[in-house]
Every structure is written in structure tokens, then in C-alpha cells.
């Protein structure tokens, strides 16, 4: 089979494969992400009202959302929320928590070291690695800029 035939077949497959409804998916993601953000805002307001400063209230907000996501992951409910809301549930900090907690649950049978230890970051690993690399690069640019007097 040559490249042209493969290309033709690929185009045909594209044509007959059903697509998801983008508008509908976006609406669901908006709703799900919106609800998570409202919960976060609720926690933030509650903490501020209790006299915490903004930083402390923000930390509590993140921690509680992470906790909520981890508990839901443990009960295998978070994946059902994502099935409905997609990126709406994955983009907030809840998605990151899920991506760490899910491997921890799954690889428990392979032991504390080679199971959970080695595989807990199989999904979140790239986010952590490239997150740190990117912040390092940005930091370097900022430093050079500062030395040159740009910033």
C-alpha cells in the first residue's frame, strides 16, 4: 500500500468517523468548570471571612479542592464527572489531583516502591517536569532582563 492510498483511506476514515458535538462539549465543560470555580470561590470567601489573609485563604482553597478531587478519585467518581465535563473538570487543580491519585490507587498492587513510588507521576510527570523547566527559562529571561535593566 503506497502513501497516496494510505492518505486516501485516512481521508475516507475521517469522513465516516462520527464527531463529538463541539458546542455541546464546550457548554458541559463550562458548566462543570464553573461549578468547581464557584466551590473554590465559596471556600475562599469563607476563609477570608474567618480573618485569614489572601495567601492563606488561597492555600486553603487549593488544598480543599485537591482533597475533594482525591476523595472522589478514590471512590471512582471523578472519572464520571470528567466523562461529562471534560476539560471543565481537568483544567482546574482538581484534574491535576486526579492525575496523581488515580495511578496511586491503580499501582498499589505492584508495591509501595515499584508500584506507587515509580508510577505515581506517570500522568502528572510531564506537567511537573515541563512546568519546572518553563519556570526556570522564564526566571532566566527575567534575570537577564533585570541585569540589562529592561525590567
Amino acid at each position: 500500500m503506497n502513501e497516496m492510498q494510505k492518505q486516501k483511506y485516512s481521508e475516507y476514515v475521517e469522513e465516516v468517523t462520527p464527531k463529538t458535538n463541539l458546542i455541546c462539549n464546550m457548554a458541559k465543560a463550562f458548566l462543570t468548570g464553573g461549578i468547581i470555580c464557584v466551590i473554590g470561590q465559596g471556600i475562599l470567601n469563607f476563609c477570608l471571612a474567618r480573618g485569614m489573609d489572601k495567601n492563606m485563604a488561597g492555600s486553603w482553597c487549593s488544598m480543599l479542592l485537591v482533597l475533594l478531587s482525591v476523595i472522589l478519585t478514590g471512590f471512582n467518581l471523578f472519572s464520571k464527572i470528567v466523562d461529562f465535563g471534560g476539560a471543565g473538570a481537568l483544567v482546574p487543580i482538581t484534574g491535576f489531583a486526579n492525575s496523581v491519585a488515580a495511578p496511586a490507587v491503580e499501582y498499589k498492587t505492584e508495591g509501595q516502591v515499584f508500584g506507587i513510588g515509580c508510577k505515581i507521576f506517570t500522568i502528572a510527570g510531564p506537567v511537573i517536569l515541563y512546568g519546572i523547566v518553563t519556570s526556570w527559562v522564564v526566571g532566566l529571561i527575567y534575570w537577564i532582563g533585570k541585569v540589562l535593566g529592561v525590567f
Binding site: 471512582n76 495511578p103 506517570t122
Partner: protein
């Protein structure tokens, strides 16, 4: 004396004194039990772990249960079985190795991804037809959770499945194949070639596998000098809705209209509207359990006289997927007659 096994064309064999599928059994999970074929399976396990500590163990238990049930339904004893041909989807065939260890029967481990049911039944029939064995078994399994872990993500990780994706069947089918009369004759086999049309989307396995199914069915027609009229049904393994449509088109291009004869195990095992399984079921357990529960039942009851059973397999691995390679596929044809 005429030889029992006749070479047909390039890819096929015909058995003149055909081996029989003497007995079969199917064991499935809860979701499959709730599907349209739910009441046809021999055993439905409510616990996805099947009383085990890990998904891999659970799948091994599925195989063991199916094998034990099938022997129980046949008229032969365990010690009479000369070989087992077994396979699953896990790395190093974990389910077969660990699940069948206690059986103490000589074993051939086979891998053909989701086409393994066809491959194992082909080899089992061949060994009986050649006189190498009187009674053998073919066993295959898949488990939704162990397959997700092997090929995709941990179960509790949230992600969305596109409409073309399939749902791995939790189930195992076991078949006792031998020289004594039974449910269905295995009249011949057409062994598939690896076919690759360059599709890289592992969430659209129907599109990857349809060309392989087409190749095997077409070559089967050539080798046996027949066409779709020869069969009451042509039943593919797990093409799902997308692959099903593509296969009909591909066969049309070759001059055969199989649309009225074609069924797909993956499309029959789940109800996509209520079970959220998108294009259909998949996995080695899909075609094996449907063969045992539905196809052999219909042959036994005389509803279907002659069936071409074509399990399809997508031969991808997590490594090949990450390396950006396409998904090569294979399909094995088995001719079943009442």
C-alpha cells in the same frame, strides 16, 4: 488415503474430517451481563475483581472459570485434553500464564490482540485435524480494567472517549475442540495477514481493523471459490459501528455485498445507548464470549447453518503508539457449520 487437511489457495485450509467444537463456556463481568446478550452467558460475575487482589489475577480467574465450565459441559475429562491454546491482551500473557497454571495441561500461549479467539481456535482445530491431538482447548480473555491499565490510563483517571472508541469486554470464552461430534464443525480456516492502512488513531480501532477483516474475508472467498451466499452470517469480532460500515464499503469495492450477512460481536454485546460504550465492545473476550453464548447457540438450534467467524485484532502496543507508529491489524477466519 486422502489427506484430512487440504491446502486451499494461499491462506486457507479445509478439513475433510472436520474437528468439532464439542462444548463451550462464557464467563463475563457485570456490565456485559446487563447487555443485550446478558442472559445467554454461562456465568456473570458481580465482582469486577472476581474475588482476587488485582485486575490481572481477576482476568486469570476468568479464564480458569471458563475453562472449567467448558470441560464440565463436555463429555470428556480434564486429563484427556492434550493442549490448551490460550491468549489474552496483557503483557507477557499474564492472564493465561497465571490463570491456567493450576490446570497442568500442556499450553501454547498465543497472541493476536482481539483476534486471539480466531487464532487459538484455528490452531486448536489444526492440531485435532492433523491427528496431533484428540481433544484440545482454546481459551481467550480480556478484562476492561486490566486492558485500560495495560494500554491506556489508570481506571480512576478522568478522560473522555470519542464516539469511535470501543469498550473492552470483561469476559472469557473457552472451547473444547475434538474429534467427537459436538455443537459445530470447524470446516476450515483462513489465516490472516498483517494489514496496515496507516491509521494511527488507537481510539478508532474499527478503522484500523476493517481493512484486515476485508483482506481475510476476500481471500477466504478466493481460496474456497465462494462468496457471501455460502454463509448464513459473516460475523466479525470487534469492528464496532465505524469499522462495520467501513468493511461493507471495502468489500463493495472488491465486488461483494456483505451488508445483509454481516454481524459484529462488538456491536451485539453492548447497548450503546444505555451502556455508554460508544462504537461497541472489543477485546479477546468479546468475540470469544459472543461465539460461545450466541453464535454456537444459534448453530446448535439450527438457526444458522454455516457461519464465517472473523475475529479482528489491532496489533498496537503502548510503545508503538508512543513512537507514533500506525496500528497494524489482523483477522482470522474460521468456518463453522452445524
Amino acid at each position: 488415503m486422502e489427506k484430512n487437511i487440504e491446502q486451499k489457495g494461499r491462506q486457507s485450509l479445509a478439513f475433510h474430517t472436520p474437528p468439532y467444537i464439542m462444548a463451550s463456556a462464557s464467563v463475563v463481568g457485570k456490565k456485559e451481563g446487563e447487555g443485550p446478550l446478558g442472559n445467554l452467558f454461562d456465568m456473570v460475575g458481580e465482582d469486577p475483581m472476581f474475588g482476587c487482589e488485582s485486575w490481572e489475577d481477576a482476568e486469570g480467574t476468568l479464564q480458569k472459570e471458563a475453562l472449567t465450565l467448558a470441560i464440565g459441559k463436555s463429555e470428556i475429562e480434564k486429563w484427556q485434553i492434550r493442549y490448551i491454546f490460550a491468549g489474552d491482551l496483557l503483557g507477557q500473557e499474564m492472564a493465561s500464564s497465571f490463570g491456567l497454571a493450576d490446570m497442568q495441561i500442556p499450553l501454547f500461549g498465543v497472541y493476536g490482540a482481539c483476534s486471539t479467539a480466531g487464532e487459538s481456535i484455528s490452531l486448536a482445530s489444526l492440531s485435532v485435524a492433523s491427528g496431533a491431538a484428540d481433544y484440545v482447548m482454546a481459551v481467550t480473555s480480556s478484562h476492561f480494567a486490566s486492558a485500560e491499565k495495560q494500554f491506556r490510563f489508570p481506571l480512576a483517571y478522568g478522560n473522555q472517549r470519542p464516539p469511535s472508541s470501543t469498550w473492552t469486554v470483561t469476559g472469557s470464552g473457552a472451547f473444547v475442540i475434538g474429534k467427537d461430534k459436538g455443537i459445530a464443525k470447524v470446516k476450515g480456516i483462513t489465516t490472516g495477514k498483517i494489514v496496515d492502512y496507516g491509521i494511527k488513531d488507537s481510539m478508532n480501532m474499527g478503522a484500523c481493523m476493517a481493512p484486515a477483516a476485508c483482506d481475510t474475508i476476500y481471500n477466504h472467498f478466493m481460496d474456497f471459490e465462494c462468496d457471501e451466499k455460502e454463509y448464513d452470517q459473516i460475523i466479525t469480532g470487534d469492528l464496532g459501528e465505524v469499522g462495520y460500515e467501513i468493511l461493507i464499503e471495502l468489500m463493495k469495492d472488491k465486488g461483494y455485498d456483505i451488508s445483509k450477512k454481516l454481524l459484529d460481536c462488538g456491536m451485539m454485546i453492548f447497548d450503546k445507548e444505555t451502556q455508554g460504550t460508544n462504537a461497541g465492545g472489543s477485546g479477546c473476550g468479546c468475540s470469544a464470549t459472543v461465539l460461545s453464548a450466541l453464535i454456537l447457540k444459534n448453530i446448535k438450534e439450527g438457526k444458522w447453518k454455516k457461519v464465517l467467524f472473523v475475529p479482528t485484532g489491532a496489533l498496537l502496543s503502548p510503545v508503538s503508539h508512543n513512537e507514533g507508529l500506525s496500528v497494524p491489524s489482523i483477522a482470522h477466519g474460521v468456518v463453522l457449520e452445524g
